[in-house]
Symmetry: C2
Subunit: 345 residues, 2 copies
DNA sequence: ACGAACAGTTGAATCGTTTCATTGTTACGA
DNA sequence: TCGTAACAATGAAACGATTCAACTGTTCGT
């Protein structure tokens, strides 16, 4: 088992000093053509590969950015992660990905891990209250940008989407197509995004005197959780059913839809209109193409990296909070009764 | 900007030698209770966090496993990644994730990156022919396990699913419900998994004298690619249409389904039966719940880590090739005309 | 012919941890 | 009292890359 070659081995092989090899790698202009060629040949012959740990040790930090998301299984985050990775790659950094799964201790473990790895900076969609920890990190020169959450104090930059507005758009749309007995599916309400979307929905419902909003607390945000809620709904007598349902995300909505359509007695959207949130790819191809609230995931990921880079480059920046506005996407699951609203792609 | 504390600072603060601090961290039993307490107090006071780069440098390798997949946006891989991460975490390793996006140069970049990071081992679902590079890695003590691909020589361990058999199952099922003019959607055929699934389908079709199989080459494996193929299909005169379609994965199938159902003239499964591959979560809640071929993603991810661990622990193992068998899942998109086959969850 | 200016090259010091041979301390039986 | 375990703690030497002040030639102007 031959140990991998080090810069020293390359220097020997090429008959130069280690400093010269390092210069060939990092400042090629400082080295003469002849020497460069010999060194490069030696590198090739020995199959030398830089040891990143040694570089980092010397540099005091890695060229890595930590990213902690709530759920990689959720296409919203998958898409966000992709955009962040691409943006980071452009500026020469790699992304370390952590999936907290809405779990505070997993989240905390990832922060520990990333701290040990000496990441340059951190993007996080937080579960628990990590402000204190993040402050410590910042004091040590590791800036953080909050993702999919508005920074409440002026301590951090953040990239978020106006979830209150999104909730309003969704509920307002249900009201606009004539629904009055609305239900909100999502939970637990301790999840920031869920609470905001609900608040927005409540705001819309207050605008119509005869409208009501029932809250159905779900266990998480998965297709499965949605199916549970749906199964509970179909057992109700028809008159107790809502006529418009707003789900806190598309996975939940798809789950609810499965349950409702399994019984062939309920029709979507005639009996119950259904709208989700996130506009994931799969919503278009659902049993009934799902209306949804679209968030600009790529822009979020890209912007997050940009804000982080700003903080990395200038020592003393004012923190910025970028808030995107979500957008209503109407498809068949809420096709209005009054007009033949065409399904949109 | 106060530099983060090092083990040396901790040693000073606690009034002990650096070696002792290291022992507290790594071999608590070797240190007396009193000293341990003082050191731990110092660690806490200074907010000391181990520098992983330094550990790695000393150790000569990281506690990290590289994983390169073809497409993180594909739920098949998302699920596989999750299982691998969990299995790795159990044995104290972290997973570095790379998404090659079916692109050879991105794949190559990730191998470079992981090599610089001195990963312990590598799991890869390869795009190009990377055998040579992987051999070099192995000679340097970095074992590789191939994922979702059978190792053709005895040089590597591998975890795969019998794609030929899966293709056979899918096509055989279409034949069994009486379809004869079959079409296969997938591409490019240079993708190993696609080619194998097609071959299996062809094998099944040969068993029925009057059956034919048309191959529709798609640009990639996304929902969008499926929609393209679907749009081309609906323009054909009805008599030229296939009566059974097998798609190389569920994303494609969902795309095709979207196009076909957009025209309200074609019915699934009456006019065209449709089956996909992977059995992703979203297939259940498709317009018409999608029949599919299920692969044991969690088992694949877990097994890959296990095989890698085997190679890491014993120097000279015989390489193993684990092959899982896929499973047919029948839903409404291929509900047979002869019997009311009930949609399954 | 001398020194200045400059481009190339050198190699020791550094980063923070782990390892391990060595030293110091205590306890106990002979 | 001495010898010897057994146990704790020490601190110097790695690991591999980068940095930078110092050094060596070479060229050029006077």
């Amino acid at each position: 088992m031959n140990r991998t070659a080090s810069i020293k081995d390359v220097a020997n092989q090429a008959g130069v000093a280690v400093g010269t090899v390092s210069n060939v790698l990092n400042y090629p202009d400082r080295v003469s053509q002849r020497t460069k060629e010999r060194v490069l040949k030696a590198i090739d012959d020995l199959g030398f590969v830089r040891n990143d740990a040694a570089r980092q040790l010397r540099a005091g930090h890695s060229r890595t950015i930590g990213l902690i998301v709530l759920d990689v299984g959720n296409p919203f985050f998958t898409s966000l992660v992709r955009a962040a990775e691409d943006a980071a790659a452009l500026q020469g950094s790699a992304v370390l990905l952590g999936d907290s799964g809405h779990n505070e201790s997993r989240e905390s473990n990832y922060i520990d891990l990333f701290q040990e790895q000496r990441v340059q900076g951190l993007l996080i969609s937080p579960v628990g209250d990590v402000t204190a920890r993040l402050n410590v990190l910042r004091e040590r020169g590791v800036p953080t940008v909050l993702v999919d959450r508005l920074a409440d104090d002026a301590m951090f930059s953040s990239v978020s989407v106006d979830d209150d507005e999104g909730g309003y758009l969704a509920a307002r749309h249900l009201l606009d197509i004539g629904r009055r007995r609305l239900a909100f599916v999502g939970g637990p309400l301790s999840i920031h995004q869920v609470a905001d979307r609900l608040r927005g929905a409540q705001r819309a419902v207050k605008e119509e005197a005869d409208a009501t909003l029932e809250v159905l607390d779900s266990e998480g945000q998965s297709v499965l959780a949605g199916r549970c809620i749906g199964n509970r709904l179909v057992e109700r007598p028809a008159k107790n059913l809502p006529d418009g349902i707003f789900c806190a995300n598309d996975l939940l909505a798809l789950g609810v839809m499965q349950s409702l359509t399994m019984m062939h007695t309920l029709r979507i959207p005639e009996d119950i209109a259904l709208i989700g949130y996130d506009d994931i790819d799969f919503s278009v191809s659902a049993v009934v193409p799902l209306s949804s609230i679209r968030q600009p995931t790529e822009a979020i990921g890209r912007t997050a990296i940009e804000l982080l880079t700003e903080e990395l480059e200038s020592q003393q920046v004012r923190h910025r909070a970028v808030v995107f506005t979500p957008e209503l996407v109407v498809r068949q699951s809420t096709a209005g009764s009054e007009a033949g609203v065409k399904a949109s792609l």
